[in-house]
């Protein structure tokens, strides 16, 4: 339902030597990202994984255009022609959900369409479809406060998907949820992303989430954030919880965990030194 054949994603996002240094008057400048080269393939899911403070969310904000890199550049390349093009339509799913508490579920989902001037009848139809796609039919007129955390994030997913974005940005979408809710939502999101065929960038702390959802996993280092390794995931789709029993899954998990453990240790040392200073 959410797939739109006329707008199949065909724009790759290329980070070319992207760096970002935050300067402030009081503190020494912080190098958040350094020399990031990375290509986000259209129609694929790319996961960014790394220790806290490695700048993976910052990278997402740069892709969205909310932050400008201080070095390097971001390019959008049309695959068919190889020409540079403008920023494709994007929509974000947030860790903190960021639902408007004074709007009902359907009003939240239809918010972006309303801003874009879509007529009432059409936006209600589209919002209801998106709500049904995340199994929340019947909750259209509830307020976010009346829903559980998992249900709220499903509203967040519907609110992003209803915009039919070419690129879906997932900023630790399940970071605030309990482990069981997380499992169920991961499966649901994997299915939605597969059927919609959209390009997706997933920022996550969870190796499991990265393997279940992504076609490509970008492992990042601790501050300054750099790309340590890019790993392709060839596990067959649809992936479900059963996928976690595959030997290939275990091998991937161990490999990523091995890299991350060292980086997390390094991040902890950097952090504790920062506190001492």
């Amino acid at each position: 339902m959410l797939a739109d054949a006329s707008r199949a994603p065909n724009v790759a996002i290329e980070f070319e030597g992207v760096g970002l240094t935050f300067t402030s008057q009081s503190d020494a400048p912080t190098v958040a990202l350094k020399d990031v080269h990375c290509r986000i393939e259209p129609g694929k899911v790319t996961a960014l994984i790394g220790p806290s403070g490695c700048g993976k969310s910052t990278l997402l904000q740069i892709a969205r255009g909310f932050l400008d890199p201080t070095r390097g550049r971001l390019r959008f390349v049309e695959i068919a022609s190889g020409k540079a093009t403008g920023r494709p339509a994007m929509a974000t799913v947030w860790q903190a959900f960021n639902l408007f508490p004074w709007l009902t579920v359907i009003e939240n989902v239809a918010f972006g369409l309303e801003l874009a001037g879509v007529r009432r009848a059409e936006r209600e139809t589209r919002a209801r479809k998106a709500i049904a796609a995340v199994d929340l039919s019947g909750f259209e007129n509830r307020f976010p406060r009346q829903l559980s955390g998992g249900m709220r994030q499903r509203v967040g997913i519907a609110r992003a998907l209803v915009m039919q974005p070419e690129v879906l940005l997932l900023d630790e979408p399940f970071g605030a949820l309990d482990a069981q809710t997380r499992l169920v939502l991961q499966e649901q999101l994997a299915r939605l992303v597969e059927t919609s065929g959209t390009t997706a960038i997933l920022v996550t702390h969870s190796i499991e989430e990265a393997i279940l959802l992504a076609d490509k996993i970008v492992v990042m280092t601790a501050r300054p954030g750099r790309i340590a390794e890019v790993i392709d995931v060839h596990l067959p789709r649809p992936r479900t919880f059963a996928t976690t029993h595959e030997p290939e899954y275990a091998a991937l998990f161990d490999r990523i965990y091995g890299m991350l453990r060292d980086e997390v240790m390094r991040a902890m040392i950097i952090e504790s030194e920062g506190l001492k200073a």
Binding site: N98, P101, L103, F111, L115, R159, M163
Partner: protein
């Protein structure tokens, strides 16, 4: 023995409900009791109605003032003066508050003026305003406006600044223009705080208009109150006070009602 349980839920089954537990019965009942005691003690002690008229005398005076004394006209004037200035203050105050909250430059300028003018008791401005504006409509409008504007501006700024930045990001992500962010995100998220400001502001407006009427007015509840006191018509003084108290109750209940309607999402 069971241990003492403090929770209301645990309490309820043990104690049967009695009719006087109803808060309305308790509230209205005690008011009625005070009036009854007042009436009886005034009758028995024979105190001069010049000092303390009996409630029944006050009621008679009140009805008489409404019937033949033109009190309804005074009430109309006072309400008009309060709400004209207050209405302007709501619109201007909210707009100004949003502007201050969203622009650091405007905030730097406005902070100074607010810091100087806000703590100043507004009644002290009455002499100056009379010199500038006389005692007519513009004066009353200004005094009511000045009473309401500060609480409204300050609470609007507070409400807008407390808006979750995540909501602003989410709106930007969904394609909101800066104007749409103000109208569709900052304003609604500040509504509870703005309403608190409006509530405070209306209270100050009422006080100021009545006080101004006492000083300069020939018409209006404040003027009526002052004149009645001058000629020792104590029943009439009480009658005007009853009208003012009733006005306060009506205004408060009306605001409660609007709050409830607008704040549906805050209730679970």
């Amino acid at each position: 023995m069971t241990p003492l349980v403090e929770s209301d839920d645990a309490d309820v089954p043990h104690r049967p409900w009695v009719w006087y537990d109803d808060p309305r019965v308790l509230g209205w009942g005690s008011v009625a009791l005070v009036i009854l005691v007042w009436e009886m003690s005034a009758r028995i002690s024979g105190v001069s109605p010049l000092y303390l008229p009996r409630p029944t005398q006050i009621i008679v005076a009140l009805i008489e003032m409404f019937r033949a004394g033109g009190l309804i006209i005074d009430l109309g004037w006072t309400l008009w003066r309060i709400f004209a200035g207050f209405g302007v203050a709501v619109v201007v105050g909210t707009a100004l508050g949003i502007w201050i909250a969203t622009s650091p430059r405007v905030r730097a300028i406005a902070d100074m003026f607010i810091a100087m003018l806000y703590p100043l008791p507004k009644v002290t401005l009455i002499p100056l305003l009379v010199i500038w504006l006389g005692t007519g409509g513009p004066f009353m409008l200004t005094i009511s406006f000045l009473g309401a504007i500060f609480p409204i501006v300050i609470n609007t700024v507070l409400g807008v600044r407390q808006c979750d930045p995540g909501l602003v990001l989410a709106a930007r992500d969904l394609g909101a223009t800066p104007q749409q962010i103000v109208r569709r995100v900052l304003l609604p998220s500040a509504i509870p705080s703005i309403f608190a400001g409006i509530r405070l502001g209306l209270g100050v407006s009422i006080i100021l208009v009545v006080a101004a009427e006492m000083v300069v007015g020939k018409l209006g509840l404040g003027a009526r109150l002052y004149l009645s006191g001058q000629i020792l018509e104590t029943e009439q003084v009480f009658a005007v006070l009853i009208v003012l108290a009733t006005l306060g109750i009506v205004v408060t209940k009306l605001q409660d009602f609007i709050d409830l309607k607008l704040g549906r999402w805050r209730l679970s």
